[in-house]
């Protein structure tokens, strides 16, 4: 899969930030370095998927492009207890017999079971508004991937800071 130059640039900047953070393990200098590098990375951009997440994304999308939009993944910015993290997934996509959302996949990048849940839906629901509570191991991106009856794949992302590991 070919990355756009923009994606490659972001990945490179991110690895720079990680390297800088790794060189200096603690102290105010590390904070200054991090503060200096973080603004270069789009805070709305999910991290480049790791091997397992990439495999899950490929499976749920069937290789079709995953576009960002139409999905609202509402999660707290900070989850103090990783054992109970609320999730609300909504979309403005139609839910009619002709055109509907047939699946919603919830993926938590750094969890032991990254493909946390799948919700298979029908037009009888009238709307997509699913809420539940999940466990999170550590600070990471969460992805909600929607598949429509016409084969489009839409995604919404959310980054959650986890204070207490909820996975053991």
């Amino acid at each position: 899969m070919a990355y756009s130059s923009e994606t490659a640039r972001r990945a490179f900047l991110r690895s720079c930030a990680a390297a800088a953070a790794g060189l200096v393990t603690s102290g105010p200098l590390a904070e200054r370095l991090l503060a200096a590098t973080v603004p270069l990375v789009d805070p709305e951009d999910p991290e480049v998927p790791n091997e397992e997440v990439a495999r899950i994304l490929k499976r749920v999308s069937g290789g079709r492009p995953i576009r960002r939009g139409h999905v609202s993944l509402d999660m707290p910015l900070v989850a103090e207890d990783g054992r109970v993290v609320p999730v609300i997934i909504e979309t403005d996509l139609p839910m009619t017999a002709e055109q509907y959302v047939k699946a919603v996949h919830l993926i938590v990048d750094h969890n032991p079971d990254a493909h946390l849940a799948a919700f298979y839906l029908t037009p009888a629901l009238g709307k997509v508004s699913i809420s539940t509570r999940i466990k999170m191991k550590r600070t990471t991106w969460v992805r909600a991937i929607l598949e429509t009856s016409s084969g489009d794949v839409w995604a919404g992302y959310s980054r959650v800071l986890v204070s207490l590991n909820g996975c053991g």
Binding site: R83, V84, V85, V108, N111, P112, D113, H115, L116, A117, A118, F119, Y120, L121, T122, A124, L125, G126, K127, V128, S129, I130, S131, T132, R133, I134, K135, G166, C167, G168
Partner: protein
């Protein structure tokens, strides 16, 4: 929910429903949702024990199906919308990874006015 025994479930729908309403269905089932990563006080692994599937039927027709892992929190809650188009039972069946199935139903009936 802690005092309930495993598999006890509740489904909540609005008290007053009119035909065609988009209603919110709230559900909860009592289950430990053990991941298999934790150990007990003796140091023995607590085996994975979780709800892996939820099937929702409305008037006998399957309207939704959820596939879960142990990543869903203890005593799983899930809420979703439903288009109340006919008076019929709404049934949910939670099945865990040991094969036990837990069932709960509510009747969707319309306000008489």
């Amino acid at each position: 929910m802690m005092t309930l025994k495993i598999g006890e479930a509740r489904i909540k729908v609005p008290d007053r429903i009119n035909r065609g309403d988009l209603i919110t269905v709230n559900s909860i089932v009592s289950h430990p949702m053990d991941t298999g990563f934790f150990r007990d006080a003796e140091g023995d692994t607590i085996p994975a024990y979780f709800i892996k599937q939820v099937v929702v039927t409305y008037g006998g027709a399957e309207v939704a199906r959820f596939e879960w892992t142990s990543g869903v929190s203890r005593d799983p809650v899930v809420s979703f919308t439903l288009k109340a188009e006919r008076e019929a039972p709404l049934t949910m069946v939670w099945t865990d990874n040991k094969g036990a199935a837990f069932k709960q139903s509510v009747n969707i009936s319309f306000a008489s006015t």
